[in-house]
Amino acid sequence: MDIPFDLIINAVIAGLLLGGFYAAVTAGISISFGMLDIVNIAHPAFILLGSYIAYVVNVELGVDPIVVSILVLPAFYALGGFVYQVYYVSFEKYGQESLRGLAFFFGLLFVTEVCLLLIFGVDYRSVDAVYIGSSVRLGTMEFPLRLLVPCLTSLAMFAGLQIFLARTFIGRAVMAVSQDPLALRLMAVDPTRIKRIAFGISIATASMAGAFLIIIQPVIPSVGRDYIGRIFAICVLGGLGSLPGTLIAALLLGIIESLTSVFYGPSWAPAVSFGILLLTLAVRPSGILGR
């Protein structure tokens, strides 16, 4: 196969930019699954919720989708807190989280997807923003703005999260809560409250990830399921609970997916992430930087 070098370079660039976006998508799960041990497979549904909210406000009021997502952050945070409360009271308190917790989140994923389907139908929806459609060029390298802007914003969000977790008291409490809840209690910090805050943050990231998503590609409700594989593949590959690991894994996945698309066609793309996931689970379940 004779593929021009330019095409490969641009595929890698697109992969990197996409990877940055994937990092934002996965950040939430990195917190809820990696640090809190909550298997929130409904996360993609929350992302789609973010996408559709951004869509509606963008179409009705012409506001930039990323701005919309920032404005609704508190609502998503509250939603996350509420969902965690239900989860905690129904399952975590009694140690029943494995089967029933999973079924709960699966039901949530499903119900959200179907509701979005009922409201918005199966037509693809996209948003309008100044930067969509144009690119930055550097020689033969092309940086489509619809990929670049979400990627940069997502990296900023990612950096913000990392600083929060490493430097603030609550952030460090979040990192500690799954490893040593007793120690937290001894410091008069309620582990449940910390988990609720953390889960709230995790869902809040979904709001922004949703805006990024709908900038990058048109969405329909079932798109969420494509992302389940990517999210967990990245999470596991990067190592649970490690934000830097998540970033590296996200970039890697982005590049591999992009190159696969170029060489083998886009219909193989869904298999890539899941294939990587299965491979990682089989060979090195602790991931690249896992604890």
Partner: protein, 334 residues
């Protein structure tokens, strides 16, 4: 009730059901109940791994579709003998093909069972959560392969044309209906046998506390693999007649999300600790969905299933069977 008696009563009930439907003489009732029977098999199969062992399988659609597509594959081979085999082999092959459905069902079971074994071997040594995610991954990977495999039609789909009539039964759908009844009897008997056997104890200890189970001498990995193979095989067998049921199969319908949701919702709503739970859940929800799809819409119908799943999981984790058990023990104490 001993197992032979249990089988006898099932066969009696199944025969009665069949002849009543035949008397009604409306093919639609066979078509509608076929899906309910299919769900009984899928839910019972899911429950062997999910309810008894506590390992959630999100990829039921994958195993179901494996069964369906292995049928499609064998059917397509039978249709294109001249293209596939050298001259000398065509005649003997024509004696074997087209393979009868019961054979297709057994092959489907073996294929799905093997895939279950492989997946299980890779992922069951990890936490249950990783197994669940891997099953999700499996379904998507399988779907991608099928979409890209033109021999079975790929994304364009494939036509599978069954004969219109079949000796003794008459309309082909009645033959499919009876085959599915047989699968129901097999899966329910299997589930009940497991429950009452040493295997059932072992499964329950895995669900309750895998670490303690190991300490008691239970070979947890081996048991989990048995459950996965059995569960996968039954799902594959349920999928084998599907192409003949709908006539035109494409990956979207074979891997439909409703299989994944229903195979989880039906046992959890019916009750996961007994063979009766998936049966009750499948009959109730399956019938409800048949009615809803016709009267409301298929999307709202799935929404109801999802909401019921969430509701039951939070409020009545023992399912309908659990509620009934509580009610019985409360009224016997009163």
């Amino acid at each position: 009730m001993r197992t032979p008696a249990f089988i006898f009563w099932q066969v009696a009930a199944a025969a009665a059901l069949y002849f009543v439907f035949r008397y009604v003489d409306n093919d639609y009732i066979f078509f509608a109940s076929y899906t309910v029977l299919q769900f009984i098999v899928l839910s019972t199969a899911w429950n062997i791994l999910g309810g008894y062992c506590g390992y959630v399988n999100f990829g039921s659609a994958g195993f179901f579709a494996l069964g369906a597509y292995s049928s499609v594959c064998l059917y397509t081979i039978g249709q294109s003998l001249e293209e596939l085999f050298p001259e000398s082999l065509v005649a003997p092959m024509q004696l074997i093909f087209p393979l009868p459905l019961p054979v297709l069902i057994i092959v489907a079971g073996m294929v799905a069972g093997l895939v279950g074994l492989g997946t299980g071997y890779l992922t069951l040594r990890l936490r249950g959560v990783f197994f669940a995610i891997a099953t999700l991954a499996l379904a998507v990977v399988l779907q991608t392969f099928i979409v890209n495999w033109s021999f079975v039609g790929g994304s364009r789909g494939a036509y599978v044309i069954p004969p219109n009539e079949i000796p003794f039964f008459g309309p082909y759908i009645q033959y499919l209906f009876v085959l599915m009844l047989v699968l129901v009897i097999i899966s329910l008997t299997c589930a009940r046998l497991i429950e009452r056997s040493r295997l059932g104890y072992g499964f329950a200890t895995i669900r309750d506390d895998e670490l303690a189970a190991e300490a008691c001498g239970v070979p947890t990995l081996r048991l989990k693999l048995i459950a996965t193979v059995l569960s996968g095989a039954l799902m594959g067998m349920a999928g084998a007649p599907f192409p003949f049921y709908i006539g035109y199969i494409e990956p979207g319908s074979a891997f439909d999300l409703s299989y994944a949701v229903n195979s989880i919702a039906m046992p959890m709503i019916g009750g996961t600790t007994s063979w009766a739970g998936p049966l009750i859940g499948a009959v109730l929800l399956g019938t409800l969905q048949q009615v809803a799809t016709v009267t409301i819409s298929s999307a709202i119908n799935l929404l109801i299933v999802g909401l019921l799943l969430i509701g039951f999981v939070i409020v009545a984790p023992g399912g309908i069977v659990g509620l009934w058990q509580k009610w019985v023990s409360r009224s016997s104490k009163a």
